[in-house]
């Protein structure tokens, strides 16, 4: 075994520790009893592990306290809202961006660069800047505390992101197939639908996952627009258990950790899938688009 091999394995172990230690502490907290959790030094392997928090929160066993009962309901409603909102946004954003990304990636037209820069600029604005107009407008329209409010808000940042990523994908598609389809009498629209889209399946899946994770994880708008209402999504629901803004958590760390872990489960699975696509994403910048990308479809 060479010295190089040894150092590679040492680095790999260090990397795994750095990556997994925080996640492990969360899982550990969620299966420990409060008494064992506060022991010092910590028990890295729990002596009396329990799944009771998970079982109660998922509604498999009845909740042991009124507090827990309320939490189960909060989580259930939150998960449902999150699923509806994230799916709606993912569907609309992917559809709109697939066509727009194709146009930006393969056609030359006036105002293209300006539009691309505008899209990029819109991504530079922090959510605290966007919350003010959205809050005011939704307040006027009576849309505060509705699922639509979050769907609209999330579309505003998902569409630019998805368009930008997909444009890089479409731009690097080999032109021959699309061109020969066109010569064979295929209309532009059907060459997109039958040739370009299937060829870019990996990119479209990757973008859909990216958008879904973004919506599922979004916290700030979710809190400000829908926090504490029946239209609340999972992030403010879990954060409220933890005690946002100095509020007190009475639920106990293990139950909070279990709720957090439940809320993370879907995106962790998606993250594992996304990992297979992520190195194939080609993130392009405006200069590359102007100088290098092929034109014509």
């Amino acid at each position: 075994v060479s010295k190089k091999k040894i150092s590679i394995y040492v680095c790999a172990i260090a990397l795994l520790f750095w990556t997994l230690f925080p996640i492990y502490t969360l899982v550990l907290t969620s299966i420990e009893q409060q008494v064992e959790l506060v022991s010092a030094p910590p028990h890295w392997i729990p002596e009396s592990p329990t799944a009771s928090n998970y079982l109660q929160l998922l509604g498999i066993t009845p909740a042991v306290s009124g507090m827990m009962m309320g939490t189960v309901e909060t989580l259930r409603v939150g998960l449902l809202n999150s699923i509806i909102i994230a799916l709606a946004v993912t569907g609309i954003a992917t559809l709109v961006s697939a066509f727009a990304g194709f146009a930006f990636g393969r056609y030359r037209f006036r105002g293209k660069m300006q539009m691309l820069f505008a899209i990029l600029f819109s991504r530079l604005l922090p959510s605290v800047a966007m919350i003010i107009p959205f809050f005011y407008l939704f307040n006027q329209l009576g849309l505060l505390a509705t699922q639509q409010a979050l769907i609209i808000t999330y579309l505003s940042f998902s569409i630019p992101l998805a368009t930008w990523v997909l444009l890089g994908f479409f731009a690097t598609l080999p032109s021959e197939m699309i061109k020969s389809a066109r010569i064979d009498g295929c209309s532009r629209t059907s060459s997109i639908l039958r040739i370009a889209m299937p060829m870019s399946r990996a990119g479209i899946v990757a973008v859909a996952i990216l958008v879904f994770i973004g919506c599922w994880n979004e916290f700030f708008f979710a809190l400000m627009l829908n926090g504490g209402t029946p239209a609340q999504t999972i992030p403010p629901a879990v954060a409220s258990l933890f005690g946002v803004q100095g509020g007190i958590n009475q639920l106990g760390q293990p139950a909070i950790a279990a709720a957090t872990a439940i809320s993370l489960a879907p995106v962790l699975v998606l993250g594992l899938i996304f990992q297979r696509y992520v190195t194939r994403l080609r993130i392009v910048d405006p200069v590359t688009i102007a100088l290098e990308l092929p034109e014509g479809a």
């Binding site: 990556t19 925080p22 910590p42 505008a118 209309s187 803004q245 994403l281």
Partner: protein
Amino acid sequence: LRGKGYRRVSDASYAYLLIIPLIIFELGLTVYPLVYSFWTSLHNTNLAANTDKYVGLANYIHVFTSSATLNSLQLSLVFMITVVISSVLLGIGIALLLNEEFVGRGLVRALVLLPWAIAEYSCAIMWSGIYNQSYGFLNGLLMQLGIIREYTSFVTPAYAIYAVAIAYTWHYTPLGAFFFLGSLQAVPQDLYSQAKIDGAKVFRRFWVVTRPFMRHSFMIVAILSVVQALQALDLVFVMTFGGPGVATQVLPYLVYRETFATMSLGLGASLAWTLSALIIALTTVLFVLLTRRR
């Protein structure tokens, strides 16, 4: 047959047709809110006091002369520099490691991206447990390793901003690492072998062979991390709510507090625009610097 009808539309018009939905969404969901918020920043709009009068640049003058802004600007810059440097260096390191062949690489690659998929608010809950002063896992670990003698607080006025920055780096680094990895995979292997034959040592090989291929991903990751770090809010919001005192009151948190503590949307909007201008300016400068030599 139908193809003939379509061909009468030029490529450019067809492209416009494809992006019409995007344009409608952008105009309605970005341009209009932005114009609106700029308009608000020129008014003393306050939902609690029910005021809404044109005040010109008064809000901006208040923002630029307030000591809270200066404090937050400093904190934001410290946070940003810490996150950018550590996530870029760590990201390059992770990418170089994952580009090597070793047993279990597939598993490591899959696991490394996980922190990125974990939302900032969940990171906040996780890292609060790690940093916890009375039973925290970091305290326990350091004690068992003999590095500290008694449990200490990590989230102190002097160090809280770094504690938050480390948690953020943990969350943010993987994405950049994978962008770097993507560009590493484009390096032709025979370039390495050639450099080896020429007797180039590891670091020299990296500098001469690998680095040119990483320039583009370097630019993307550097700019993205500057933007993300200056926008980061959730972590501070859940973990420290700006504290202890104002020790982690970064600019986005200040915007939130100024806006919603007293419902002064006008003042908040002017602060939000100041922050946005800072992000846009820094990004533009970085972009010009990093693409200059092309």
